[in-house]
């Protein structure tokens, strides 16, 4: 008698439908985040060298193709952040000290935290620029 037929989802699983593809794309956003982190670390490294090296690197970051990369990375980072915030309630216990926590409260708190941190960073950058 023949063996049972093997019908597993293979490595091309992410091409099967739109939902899988979006998840694959969401995970792929990490590649852009990594690229931006590397560029930022290089910027810090260049800042420790002479002014000419630093300015040349800064000009490189302003190249139109690099600006496109930054915008794509920003869009992906925002998408990843929002999708992460939206699924966070599923990953947490539904009760704290015996009381149900509404999903909207968990999601809202994350967005409020992001807004507060972003505001603080802007204020800090503005303060550094002014002094």
């Amino acid at each position: 008698m023949n063996r049972p037929l093997d019908r597993r989802l293979g490595w091309t699983w992410w091409t099967r439908n739109g939902s899988y593809f979006r998840i694959f794309l969401r995970e792929a956003t990490s590649a852009f985040i990594l690229a931006e982190v590397v560029l930022f670390m290089l910027l810090i490294h260049k800042a420790g060298q002479d002014a000419e090296t630093y300015l040349a690197y800064r000009d490189f970051l302003w190249h139109p193709l690099m600006v496109v990369l930054h915008l794509v990375a920003l869009a992906f980072a925002l998408w990843h952040t929002v999708s992460f915030f939206l699924i966070a309630p599923n990953a947490l216990p539904n009760q704290v000290a015996g009381r149900r926590i509404p999903a909207a409260f968990i999601i809202g708190q994350q967005f409020a935290g992001l807004a507060a941190v972003t505001l603080l960073l802007f204020l800090w950058v503005a303060w550094v620029g002014a002094t």
Partner: protein, 248 residues
């Protein structure tokens, strides 16, 4: 007046008779028919050799799970009217070995389910069958959602990790483990955690989330697994920082 019909393209596999093929059947269309009704029509009136599993016809037994137009679905809950004008492609659940036609081998799943001890474990187990273990509505609410699983295995067909990692315990079994771990009457958490905290347990899950999307009972296995991950991480750091403490 001619009767309205719809075409079914059904996966056929007879292990002693060559490789898999698709066979088309023209079945009557009725507004209140589901895909399972159409398959039963084929079995009763067109081709008695077609094999498939079913039992309750009302979304309780979890036997009739198949791929309907590529999506893991309970065929007893999938109306023909939602797929008009057709054709409707019916296949066995993916990620499971196919025994014959639409029948898959579920032994692997049953073994995984057995590993997580999906039942109440009591340290003080006695022969007194009248013993009652009381529970408040709040305690019930902690795990009730995860207790709705009917073991239909649609989540296993939707999970890409199951397709790549043979030993991954999988969504339904892990959700059931979490269901019993959250039950105030249970005392078997430690035994289950030894299984679910392994690499083949919760840590293989990459939170694709399709298991929760296809679940006909809204169990949200993906959520259960993430909650278990959170607990696993806390447990790890607790043991790391307090090595003298007894494992709870």
């Amino acid at each position: 007046m001619s009767e309205t019909t719809i075409q079914l393209e059904v996966f056929r596999y007879r292990p002693d008779n060559g490789g898999p093929t698709f066979q088309s059947y023209e079945v009557p269309y009725h507004d209140d028919w589901v895909v399972l009704d159409a398959l039963n029509y084929v079995k009763n009136y067109i081709d008695g050799s077609l094999s498939f599993r079913w039992s309750c016809r009302m979304g309780v037994c979890g036997s009739c799970g198949m791929q309907v137009n590529g999506e893991p679905s309970l065929t007893c809950a999938e109306f023909l009217r939602d797929h008009m004008p057709g054709p409707i492609r019916v296949e066995p659940l993916v990620n499971f070995p196919v025994e014959r036609d639409l029948v898959v081998d579920i032994n692997g799943f049953m073994e995984k389910l057995d590993h997580v001890k999906p039942y109440l474990v009591r340290e003080d187990e006695s022969d007194d069958l009248s013993a009652e273990y009381m529970q408040t509505p709040t305690q019930l609410d902690r795990y009730k959602q995860f207790s709705m699983c009917i073991n239909c295995m649609l989540c296993y067909a939707a999970c890409p990790v199951i397709g790549r990692v043979d030993d991954f315990i999988g969504p339904a079994a892990l959700a059931l483990a979490q269901r019993y771990n959250l039950d105030s009457r249970d005392q078997g958490k430690q035994m289950r955690q030894d299984v679910i905290f392994q690499n083949e347990g919760i840590w293989e899950c990459t939170f694709v989330g399709e298991c929760s999307e296809v679940c006909p009972k809204h169990v949200d296995p993906a959520g259960a697994i993430q909650q278990a991950k959170l607990e696993g991480a806390f447990d790890y750091y607790k043991r790391l920082l307090t090595p003298w403490a007894r494992r709870s």
